[in-house]
């Protein structure tokens, strides 16, 4: 690896007509790390990934993958990466093995080497016993595994995974996350996009939080959580929401931020409203919140307290929740 970064992104811009999808982002992914781009839908993650996969040309700026420019040396970049697209991209009328054979040839494998590698990948993704089955007959989880397996065929130095866990069941999701960690253990650099805070937190050596085409924060999980310091996140569900609530609760000592309506608490029902607060110490603040609510005749129907996390960071930086998008 020669200490060379696996990915270097420099002042990258991408415009689609009037839409400025990526607004001058820069980041570096050291070789052998798992790097996550975390952000809501529309943040610019997939556009960034598409540029790194040589599917889109940047409007300005550049990105290097294993030292190769995506603009000047796309074939070298493509040879170095394995891409797992967000949507399952397989030939459903072919079998799992036929799919792997074909995609293996597309990345330059031939003959005995191809057959051996296909066998290995089938074992890795747990489809060796279903290799002759048509993909159309596979479950969603099996397709996801094959979708990932294709990207592993040529043992790429960098794996780019675009929200590979969207819309899948918890068990498959768990399998995929374990696979990502295993690939990283084998030395592969992983660029992973997600809008699930928990995934970024569990997997990543480094995380870049994206919003509206920009990276608004970047670092390790610990670095990012430090942005909100030791703040607790308190989600309240109220049976009504008087106009004064934001101003009055903002005045309570220890309350750093009050956000109305985001995100919905799981217990909230129709007619109820939710308020999220970032506070220094929830034990000190909560009694004051109950007191003011009682005085105003408002009933607090549920309370959830969370330790500082990436969700709180995003909330703190944007005033919006990751999953509200």
């Amino acid at each position: 690896m020669n200490g060379q970064p696996a990915i270097q992104v420099r002042d990258l811009h991408k415009r689609f007509g009037d839409l400025h999808a990526v607004k001058g982002i820069s980041f570096t992914v050291p070789a052998g790390q798992i790097f996550s781009l975390l952000g809501p839908n529309g943040a610019g993650k997939s556009t960034t990934i598409s540029i790194l996969s040589c599917l889109l040309q940047p409007t300005s700026g550049d990105a290097l993958v294993m030292g190769h420019s995506v603009q000047r040396e796309p074939m070298a970049v493509k040879a170095a990466i394995g891409v797992v697209p967000q949507e399952i991209a397989l030939y459903e009328d072919l079998s799992a093995r036929e799919n792997l054979d074909f995609w293996g040839k597309m990345v330059g494998l031939r003959g005995a080497a191809l057959r051996q590698r296909v066998d290995e990948v089938l074992e890795i993704i747990g489809l060796a016993d279903r290799q002759k089955g048509r993909v159309a007959k596979f479950s969603g989880g099996m397709k996801r595994r094959l979708n990932i397996g294709i990207a592993l065929l040529h043992r790429p130095q960098v794996i780019i995974m675009d929200e590979p866990t969207v819309g899948i069941d918890p068990q498959t999701r768990r399998n995929i996350l374990d696979s990502v960690k295993e690939l990283n253990r084998q030395g592969m650099t992983v660029l992973y996009t997600t809008h699930y805070m928990e995934e970024a937190q569990e997997l990543s050596d480094q995380i870049a939080i994206m919003d509206q085409g920009r990276i608004i924060a970047q670092g390790t999980h610990q670095d990012l959580v430090q942005i909100v310091g030791e703040l607790d996140r308190v989600d309240l569900t109220l049976n009504a929401l008087p106009d004064w609530v934001t101003d009055r609760w903002q005045q309570i000592p220890g309350v750093q931020k009050v956000i109305v309506g985001a995100p919905s608490h799981p217990q909230a029902t129709d007619g109820e409203r939710t308020v999220t607060l970032l506070v220094d110490d929830s034990n000190l603040v909560l009694p004051r919140l109950f007191e003011s609510a009682t005085q105003a005749g408002v009933r607090i129907t549920s309370v959830t307290i969370q330790e500082p996390n990436l969700e709180a960071v995003f909330l703190h930086l944007t005033g919006r929740a990751l999953r509200d998008e």
Partner: protein, 422 residues
Amino acid sequence: MKTLDIARKDLLRSSRSFSVWVFGLAVPLLTSGIFFFAFGGLGDGGFDLPVTQVVVANLDSPVNGFSAGQLLLNFLKAEDFKEILAVSEVADAVTARRVVDQQQAGLAVILPADLTAALVRPGERAVVELYQDPTLTLGPGIVSGIIGQFVDGLIGSNIAANVVTAQLARYGHPIDAATSQAIAVEYGRWAAALGAHQQQETSALLEIHRPAVEPGSEDVRSRIVSLIMAGMMVFFVFFTGAASAENLLAEEEAGTLARLFTTPTPISAILAGRMVATLVTLILQVVMLVTASALLFHVHWGSPAPAMGVAAGMILLAAGFGLFLTSLLKDRRQGGLVYGGVLTVMGNLGMINIFTAQVAGPARQIFDTLSLLVPQGWAVRGWQLLQAGGGIGDVLVTVLVMVSLAGVFFAAGLLRFRKRFA
């Protein structure tokens, strides 16, 4: 190498596609098969009309030894009508009608006693009665036509006698009734003889000479089925060309095309692979259709060498046109409309000179020109020339036009796709 890998993958997928087999092979064969059997396939090559039972009550009285009724009766009993008419005589009109009422005959022809007199004597009139089984239409209709034609000819004798009598009187040579009657009788005999000649497609005044034709080419059914099969093949080959190119859109929508672009595979190899698969698919389709139709329906495709030239031109043109047409589409939803509408209209326009094969004169030229406004028309023209016995020299221009058009369409389609995927 990757081009062939992509082509192999596309062919494997096509071979597993139900619609490729149905629309590429089964439907064109089925359509031609329908025409084959509709024109009496597996039979003796002609129409099988049911024999119509006809009863004739000939009450006609001869005049000067001439009987129009007997003449008509002999005419209906002629050898040439034996395959469609079975004529028997009854004594009177009541019996004739009863036979029809009892459905023992489909038609009764009642010739009145004064039939001949009406035809040869000026000013007289007689009515031939046709009494028909209302449940039958075709057979009685044919007999009505035959009798109508015959009686019209005989009526002409009456008119001719009247004209002759009037003209002679005008120029000072009046003739008596007996002479006038004799003229009418002679004219009637002449008219009867003329009818008999017409029945044999000859005329005393007209000789028809047919050009020499190759043995076997008189088989009308074979010619019609061959033409239709050629039209069907052109029609569906162009569909296959477009549908095969449409796979690019399908792959684009499925995400596999984008995934291919993330591999170190040049766009040119991806497009070339698709084209190779399209050409191989079309070659297989044409070979199977030509072979199957020749074996099943005895379709005549012309001499092998020029036929291969026309087939190659058609295949290239269908592939190129399909690629170009598909490059204009945004997605497969548009494809449904375009393939279902545009290709159908163009295909039918290309085949218009097959549908109008019987039309002659200036309209023929219009239809021929119209069909050449669409690529399918050139392919149809090539097969028509071959089926008419044309050789390499006859189809050379058509093949060259097809290859040139294919080149233009290929270039335009590839440029558009390269720009789209760049």
